[in-house]
C-alpha cells in the first residue's frame, strides 16, 4: 500500500474509533434515561405529580438546592477570587481543602457534618445554647448540599477569574477605578460565563445529593425528604412510584439545565 493510502486508512480508522467511543459514551448516558422515560405512562406521571408527598419532595428539592447554590455563590466568590489573584502561604493546602468534599464519599461527609454540627459535635453544643439545632432540619439539607457541591462553584469561579487578563485590571486602576469598582465592572462581567456554568454544575450536584443529606439531615417528608430520598424510599415498596418520581426529577432538572444554558453568554474577549 502506498504511503498516502496507508495514511488515509489510518485516518479512517481513527475516525471510526472516535465515533465508536462517542457512541458508547452517549449510549451509557441515554439508555438509563430512556429506560426511565419509557417505563412510565404520561398519565401516570401527571397523577403522581398531584400527590402532595411528591410535590412536597419536589418543592423541598428545588428550594434547598437553589438556596444552597446561592449561598455557595455568595460565600465562595471571595475565596475563588483570592485563589485566582493572590499568592499566600498555605495556598496549596487551602486548594486541597476546597477539593476535599469532591473526593469524600457523601455518606462520610454526612457523618462529618453530624460530628461538627450535631448535638454532641464540635459546634453543636454552642449552637444549642443559642437555641439553634441543625440536624433533622431543612437547614441541614442546605448545609449538606453546600458541602458537597461547594467545590464545583469555587473551582469554576476561580478559573473564570484567572482567565481575565490582568492587564485589564491594571488599566482599570489607572482609570480611577478602585479595586471594588474594577471587580464589579471588569472582572465580574468578564468571568460571568464561567460563574454561571459553575453555578449550574453546583445546583445540579446539590439537587442530586443523597448520602450526606440522609445521614445529616435525616429523612422526614416535608422537612428533609428531598426527591432523591423520596425515590430511594419509594424503591423499597413501589418500583413504579420510584420510577415516576425519578422521571419527574429528571424532567425538572433537565428543563432547568437547558434554560440555564440558554442564558446569553458574556462578551468574548
Amino acid at each position: 500500500m502506498t504511503v498516502r493510502a496507508r495514511r488515509r486508512r489510518g485516518e479512517r480508522l481513527l475516525g471510526l474509533a472516535w465515533l465508536t467511543a462517542t457512541a458508547l459514551f452517549l449510549a451509557l448516558l441515554i439508555l438509563p434515561v430512556a429506560g426511565l422515560l419509557l417505563r412510565v405512562p404520561p398519565a401516570d406521571l401527571l397523577r403522581r405529580m398531584a400527590d402532595p408527598l411528591v410535590l412536597q419532595a419536589l418543592w423541598l428539592s428545588l428550594t434547598t438546592s437553589l438556596a444552597a447554590t446561592a449561598a455557595v455563590a455568595v460565600l465562595g466568590l471571595p475565596l475563588a477570587y483570592a485563589l485566582a489573584t493572590r499568592q499566600f502561604a498555605g495556598k496549596r493546602a487551602l486548594e486541597a481543602l476546597v477539593d476535599l468534599p469532591m473526593v469524600l464519599p457523601p455518606t462520610v461527609a454526612g457523618v462529618g457534618l453530624l460530628l461538627a454540627f450535631g448535638r454532641q459535635g464540635l459546634v453543636g453544643p454552642a449552637l444549642a445554647v443559642a437555641g439553634i439545632s441543625i440536624p433533622f432540619t431543612s437547614v441541614a439539607v442546605v448545609l449538606a448540599q453546600m458541602f458537597v457541591a461547594g467545590p464545583f462553584f469555587v473551582n469554576a469561579a476561580r478559573a473564570g477569574f484567572e482567565a481575565v487578563d490582568p492587564a485589564l485590571v491594571r488599566a482599570a486602576a489607572t482609570l480611577r477605578a478602585t479595586p471594588g469598582y474594577a471587580f464589579r465592572r471588569v472582572q465580574l462581567p468578564l468571568s460571568r460565563p464561567a460563574l454561571l456554568a459553575g453555578a449550574a454544575m453546583t445546583w445540579a450536584r446539590a439537587l442530586g445529593e443523597f448520602g450526606a443529606t440522609i445521614t445529616f439531615a435525616g429523612n422526614l417528608p416535608g422537612r428533609t425528604q428531598t426527591m432523591p430520598l423520596a425515590v430511594y424510599i419509594a424503591l423499597q415498596t413501589d418500583l413504579e412510584a420510584a420510577v415516576a418520581l425519578s422521571v419527574i426529577l429528571l424532567v425538572v432538572s433537565f428543563g432547568l439545565l437547558v434554560a440555564l444554558r440558554a442564558v446569553p453568554r458574556g462578551a468574548r474577549p
Binding site: 488599566a171 486602576a173 480611577r176 478602585t178 465592572r185 471588569v186 468578564l190
Partner: protein, 362 residues
C-alpha cells in the same frame, strides 16, 4: 511638572533613577528590553511601589518613602496607554472611553457626552458602538489614547505605543501620535526600545540601562555627546575612548586610541595632556575613497570593508563597517557603494574632518 526619585529591586533588576518631566513636553525613556523602562512607568502610575523614593506631580506628593505617603493608582491624576492597549473587550468603544469618568463618579449622561467629544477629537465617532475586537490596531491605539486623555491627566504615560502595530501602520500612527503629543498640556513620559522613535517623540531623552539612567538630555545632547558606548551604539554613532597625545596651539589635538589609532580632533582648552576623552563621529560624516584622498580632511584611515549593512526600510543608505584602526562605521548611499564597487574585503580609504569628530572629557 513631574519630579520622581525611584529606587526599586525587582528580580535581578536594581532600579535607581531620578526623573523630571516638565508639562507640555515629552520625556522619552529608551533602552533595551529588560532595562527597567516599563517598571519606571508602573512605579509612576502606582501599579508598583518603590522601595524608596519620592514622586511629586504638580505639587501633589504621590509617594514619599520617608513620610510614609503612598497614594493608590486610582487616586493619581495619570493616564496610561498600555502596550497592548488593554481595552475592555466587554464594553463598546464609547463605554471604554467613558470608563474612567464613570469610575470617578461622573454621571452617565455627562460621561457619555465627554467621551463622545474625546472620540470626535480622534475621529472615531463612527466606531463608538463597536467593540475593541472589531477595530484595527491603529484604531485601538487611538481609543486607548482617548480613554486616557478624557480624564485630563496631569501626567500621561505611554508604554511602547507603536510596538503592537505592523510597520506600515506604525509609520502612519507615529506621525499622528507625535502631533497629538505635541499639543498636550500635561507632562508625558513615553517608553520605547526603538532609538529612532525616541528621537522622533522626545524633546528630552533618558537612556535607561540596567535600571539606571545612562544619560539624560535633549536629542542633540545625546547625538553630540553620548556619554557611554551604549548610548552611542543606541544612537548609531562611532564612539572612541582615547587619551590626548598631543596638542597644537590652534586647538587641534591628537587623540591616541587604545588600539593604536590616531584621531585628529578639535579640542577646547579644558583638555589636558594625557586626559581621557571620548570622541564621537557621526557615520554620515565619513567619506569613502578608493585611493588616498587629497583634501583638508585630517583623519584618513586605510582598511578593508568588513561588512555592508543596508539600512531599513529601503536600503538606500548603507552602513559600511571598516576594519580600520580604530574601526569605523560609515554611512553612505547605495549609489556610492555601487560606484566604488564596494564589497566585503575591498580596500578603501575613509576620511573625515577634524571638526566632524566631537571630543569631550570622559
Amino acid at each position: 511638572m513631574l519630579i520622581a526619585e525611584l529606587r526599586r529591586r525587582l528580580g535581578s533588576l536594581a532600579l535607581d533613577v531620578r526623573l523630571e518631566a516638565p508639562p507640555g513636553e515629552t520625556l522619552v525613556l529608551v533602552g533595551e528590553n529588560g532595562a527597567g523602562k516599563s517598571t519606571i512607568l508602573n512605579l509612576l502610575a502606582g501599579l508598583l511601589d518603590p522601595d524608596e523614593g519620592r514622586i511629586e506631580l504638580d505639587g501633589a506628593v504621590y509617594y514619599d518613602a520617608a513620610a510614609g505617603v503612598c497614594v493608590p493608582a486610582y487616586e493619581r491624576a495619570i493616564g496610561y496607554v498600555f502596550q497592548d492597549y488593554a481595552l475592555f473587550p466587554h464594553l463598546s468603544v464609547a463605554e471604554n472611553v467613558a470608563f474612567g469618568l464613570r469610575a470617578a463618579g461622573t454621571a452617565r449622561a455627562a460621561a457619555r457626552d465627554r467621551a463622545g467629544a474625546a472620540l470626535a477629537r480622534v475621529g472615531l465617532t463612527a466606531l463608538a458602538g463597536r467593540t475593541p475586537g472589531e477595530l484595527s490596531g491603529g484604531q485601538r491605539q487611538r481609543v486607548a489614547l482617548a480613554r486616557a486623555l478624557v480624564l485630563e491627566p496631569r501626567l500621561l504615560l505611554l508604554d511602547e505605543p507603536l510596538s503592537a502595530l505592523d510597520p506600515q501602520t506604525r509609520r502612519e500612527v507615529r506621525a499622528e501620535l507625535r502631533h497629538a503629543l505635541r499639543g498636550l498640556a500635561c507632562a508625558t513620559v513615553l517608553v520605547t526600545h526603538d532609538p529612532f522613535e525616541a528621537l522622533v517623540f522626545g524633546r528630552e531623552i533618558a537612556v535607561v540601562e540596567q535600571g539606571r539612567l545612562a544619560q539624560v538630555g535633549s536629542r542633540d545632547d545625546l547625538l553630540r555627546q553620548p556619554r557611554s558606548r551604549y548610548v552611542a551604539e543606541l544612537l548609531g554613532l562611532n564612539l572612541f575612548t582615547g587619551r590626548v597625545a598631543a596638542r597644537a596651539p590652534d586647538g587641534l589635538a591628537e587623540i591616541a586610541t587604545a588600539d593604536g589609532g590616531r584621531l585628529h580632533v578639535v579640542l577646547d582648552e579644558r583638555g589636558a595632556d594625557g586626559q581621557e576623552v571620548l570622541v564621537a563621529v557621526d557615520p554620515r560624516e565619513i567619506t569613502l575613497h578608493p585611493a588616498p584622498p587629497s583634501g583638508t580632511a585630517q583623519n584618513v584611515f586605510a582598511g578593508t570593508v568588513a561588512q555592508l549593512v543596508p539600512e531599513p526600510p529601503f536600503g538606500e543608505r548603507v552602513r559600511a563597517v571598516l576594519d580600520t584602526t580604530p574601526p569605523l562605521v560609515a554611512e553612505v548611499t547605495a549609489h556610492a557603494v555601487q560606484q566604488l564597487g564596494l564589497r566585503e574585503g575591498t580596500p578603501v580609504h575613509a576620511s573625515f574632518k577634524a571638526v566632524a569628530a566631537r571630543a569631550y572629557a570622559a
